[in-house]
């Protein structure tokens, strides 16, 4: 070991470390960030395990980011008396999770499945490996999640994947590389609570530049359908395959007395237009309901589910999500009841 004044060196390093950390935290708070819980695999696994540990027979929410942002657990609980378990995952088709519940003989709750056309009918799964993670999660990963959730996440605003060092570096004004097709990165959109209740980040509502950045991100992705689905002939077999998965899972759940209801949450503006252009309702949603025999709630069929503020066209603003949930919950409850009465 080299002989050095290690005490003063450690002290100097600690002072610099704390100073820089305070500076970094202040920077992101000035940017509008507030502390929130991470939408991590560990957080999802914790909610999924509640189904086993609590023998939960209430409502389970599956879907993509629209169910995550638009359905507010506390509002739902205020109306129904029980908070649903939030298992929706951004950028991810819910079908694998519906199949997971179908394969769980002990599950007897109700299931609301969000349908975002570009994800559900393509089978895209950005977070698809979370099921394997949950199955294989070791004791150290569980304790790490608990430590993070208890000591770090509620206190630090910079603790968000969107503010990680490599992400910040990648967002600098780098020259474009000729011939490389890139999409603007999906930016931070939400703040999450301890039970994965998620609300739109306030910045999207008040900062027009930031909002425009997010809108540009969606439009660059939806400017044209993905190459493997860019004609009806190519797309339909993929759509049919996804619907077939849903049919099988719903049949298994129905045989066990588990009601399943599909939800097409609102999207507006150019985003809705692009969705209808590439995956029109008649070739997707209508077929899904027809083949599964499950009821569906499409926002276009319910006037009370329309007209909400959606700053970046895809998700509801935070306060609007409360109003939306209050309007949605009774419709969903009625659908579940009708299914049980059949």
């Amino acid at each position: 070991m080299p002989v050095r004044p290690w005490g003063p060196i450690l002290l100097g390093a600690a002072v610099l470390f704390v100073f820089l950390l305070v500076l970094w935290e202040s920077h992101w708070r000035a940017f509008g960030a507030v502390p929130g819980y991470r939408n991590s695999d560990g957080a999802w696994a914790e909610q999924r395990r509640r189904l086993d540990a609590e023998a939960h027979d209430g409502t389970v929410l599956l879907g993509s980011s629209r169910v995550l942002f638009d359905v507010q657990l506390d509002v739902w609980e205020g109306i129904s008396g029980t908070a649903p378990i939030q298992l929706a995952l951004e950028g991810t088709s819910p079908l694998a999770f519906l199949e997971d519940l179908a394969a769980d003989p002990d599950f007897h709750g109700d299931v609301l499945v969000g349908v975002t056309p570009g994800l559900f009918f393509s089978g895209r799964e950005i977070r698809g490996d979370v099921l394997a993670y949950t199955r294989d999660q070791g004791p150290s990963q569980r304790s790490g999640h608990w430590l993070s959730k208890t000591f770090i996440e509620p206190h630090l605003a910079f603790n968000d994947p969107d503010f990680a060092l490599d992400v910040v570096v990648s967002r600098l004004a780098w020259p474009e590389r000729s011939g490389l097709r890139t999409f603007p990165p999906v930016r931070k959109l939400s703040i999450q609570g301890p039970a994965r209740n998620t609300r739109m980040w306030h910045k999207l509502e008040v900062d027009a530049d930031y909002r425009a950045l997010v809108q540009a991100g969606w439009m660059s992705r939806l400017a044209q359908p993905p190459p493997h689905m860019n004609t009806p002939e190519k797309a339909q077999p993929i759509i049919d395959a996804q619907i077939a998965r849903a049919v099988a899972a719903v049949a298994t759940l129905r045989a066990r007395g588990v009601p399943v209801v599909f939800l097409r949450a609102p999207s507006i503006g150019p985003l809705y237009a692009a969705e209808e252009r590439d995956l029109p309702r008649a070739r997707t949603w209508d077929l899904l309901l027809q083949r599964t025999g499950a009821p569906g709630i499409h926002f276009m069929d319910h006037s009370e589910l329309q007209g909400f503020a959606q700053p970046e066209w895809s998700h509801l603003a935070a306060d609007e999500a409360d109003r939306f949930t209050a309007a949605l919950q009774p419709i969903v409850a009625r659908s579940f009841e009708q299914l049980r009465d059949r």
Binding site: P2, W6, P8, A13, L16, W24, S140, S143, N159, S170
Partner: protein, 471 residues
């Protein structure tokens, strides 16, 4: 648990606090043993049983070996230990690989054979602790080491958590004596140990995971053909990633052991400044290369039995060394390439025995060595031979029509980081980290330490496993 996790930070603080209490040395050793089993069980608790089997079998095999008077009996106990250890390794690590290859052989012979599903989870670090325990039996059998006097010391040698899952691969003579005598740790030792841990975690979390892993993955795992620039940057990214990942682990492990008052050997000595491949293997994964030299190359004859036997021993050692890294033929080819490099180097050294390169020639030979090592990394990282072939074709200009894969940020960051790594290795080529630290002003060390710690926190690592855990 992995070093780059909150669980490890909490675990290590508790272990360090208990180890610092004014308690008996025996209690402290029990504390370390219990902590090490906890460290291992945090992945998958049942696999602790394998550790116990390995520990107990080797302990009793060596006890019996020492008591045996007849050479045949000594040999039998040694063979038992080798069979149990290599048997566990073969079952868990190579079972699926052997079955797949057996099926291919049968198919070649016209016999239809479908191997059973081999869904066996590979116990973390089994290759490392198997080699550590084997060295104990073999050293005692070869009368290079005395058997441990205490089962506690021996069990702690096998299990000691800093080296348990990814080395450095310790020899009993290096660690057992350190457990035999009570040791105290000075405040400066703890502080230097923490500085080493910070350096190791910076390499892993910031450089390997933060900036190098993604470009390597983008190129190696893409379906598209890579052009020359992307293929080279992807390969250079992996060369930096695997160094920062593994050297980062070793540095963290050495730092953790130092905080507890124990010394562990260097595992890396600035390998990308190597001139020639024998030099590379004296600098890269030093504890593995010395293990392979002592327990494989030399027993196979080494360089004592003529030229042909030397080359045979060299190739066999490197091929098996490649297979040790993973149950895949791509690893065997990686080892084989290193074997060929070493053989060619040996032949050239014999041919040009009096040659002493000047500074420019030394640098160019170093550059050639690094370039050829990058070729081997292609086989190490590529998921298949076909992808390795596509990568090599790209690297040598055969995919001129390929579309770009990496954005500008990756091209720039990989180039900067890899250039910094290679430059640092050249600057430090004939020095040690300790000698450099002794010469740097204290305020510089404080700034570097503070910046590295800050970068680790804001990188927000996801606690990904170290690459060598899978081996």
């Amino acid at each position: 648990m992995v070093f780059n996790s909150l669980t490890f930070i909490a675990f290590f603080l508790i272990v360090l606090a208990l180890h610092s209490l004014p308690l008996s040395w025996r209690f402290k050793k029990f504390n370390l043993l219990f902590a090490s089993y906890l460290f291992y069980a945090a992945w998958n608790p049942p696999f602790v049983i394998l550790l116990w089997i390995s520990t107990i079998v080797d302990w009793y095999a060596v006890q019996m070996l020492v008591k045996s008077e007849k050479p045949a009996a000594r040999r039998a106990w040694m063979v038992l230990s080798v069979i149990v250890n290599l048997g566990m390794l073969a079952y868990f690590k190579y079972g699926g690989f052997l079955l797949e290859n057996f099926a291919v052989l049968m198919d070649g012979a016209g016999i239809a054979y479908t191997p059973p599903d081999w869904n066996i989870v590979l116990p973390v670090g089994i290759s490392f602790y198997t080699f550590a325990t084997l060295s104990y039996t073999l050293d005692v059998y070869l009368r290079r080491a005395q058997p441990a006097r205490s089962f506690l010391d021996y069990a702690l040698f096998v299990t000691f958590f800093p080296h348990l899952v990814a080395g450095p691969i310790m020899r009993p003579t290096e660690l057992v004596p350190q457990f035999a005598q009570a040791r105290s740790t000075s405040g400066d030792q703890i502080r230097f140990g923490l500085a080493l841990m910070t350096l190791g975690l910076f390499q892993k979390i910031v450089l390997a995971d933060g900036f190098l892993a993604q470009p390597a993955e983008t190129v190696f795992d893409a379906a598209a053909m890579p052009g020359a620039l992307d293929a080279w940057i992807g390969t250079l990214a992996f060369s930096g990633q695997i160094f920062c990942d593994f050297a980062g682990y070793s540095t963290t492990a050495i730092g953790a052991a130092m905080c507890l008052g124990f010394a562990m050997p260097d595992n890396f000595r600035f390998p990308y400044a190597a001139v020639g491949f024998s030099d590379f293997w004296r600098r890269w994964h030093i504890t593995l290369s010395s293990w392979l030299r002592d327990y494989l190359y030399i027993p196979l004859g080494g360089n004592r039995l003529g030229v042909a036997r030397t080359y045979f021993a060299l190739m066999t050692t490197m091929l098996l060394g490649g297979l040790w890294h993973g149950a895949n033929w791509t690893f065997v080819v990686w080892g084989g390439l290193h074997g060929i490099y070493l053989a060619v180097e040996r032949a050239l050294r014999d041919r040009y025995r009096g040659y002493r390169p000047g500074p420019l020639a030394l640098f160019l030979l170093g550059l050639l060595t690094y370039t050829l090592i990058n070729i081997t990394w292609v086989f190490f990282r590529a998921p298949s031979f076909s992808r390795a072939a596509e990568m090599l074709t790209g690297m040598f200009g055969g995919n001129n029509a390929a579309m770009p894969l990496l954005p500008m940020v990756d091209l720039v960051m990989v180039s900067l980081i890899v250039a910094a790594i290679v430059s640092t290795h050249w600057l430090m080529r004939d020095r040690t980290l300790e000698s450099a630290v002794a010469r740097i002003p204290g305020w510089c060390l404080a700034i570097a330490w503070g910046l590295m710690a800050f970068a680790i926190v804001i990188a927000q690592g996801a606690g990904s496993a170290f690459i060598y855990f899978q081996f």
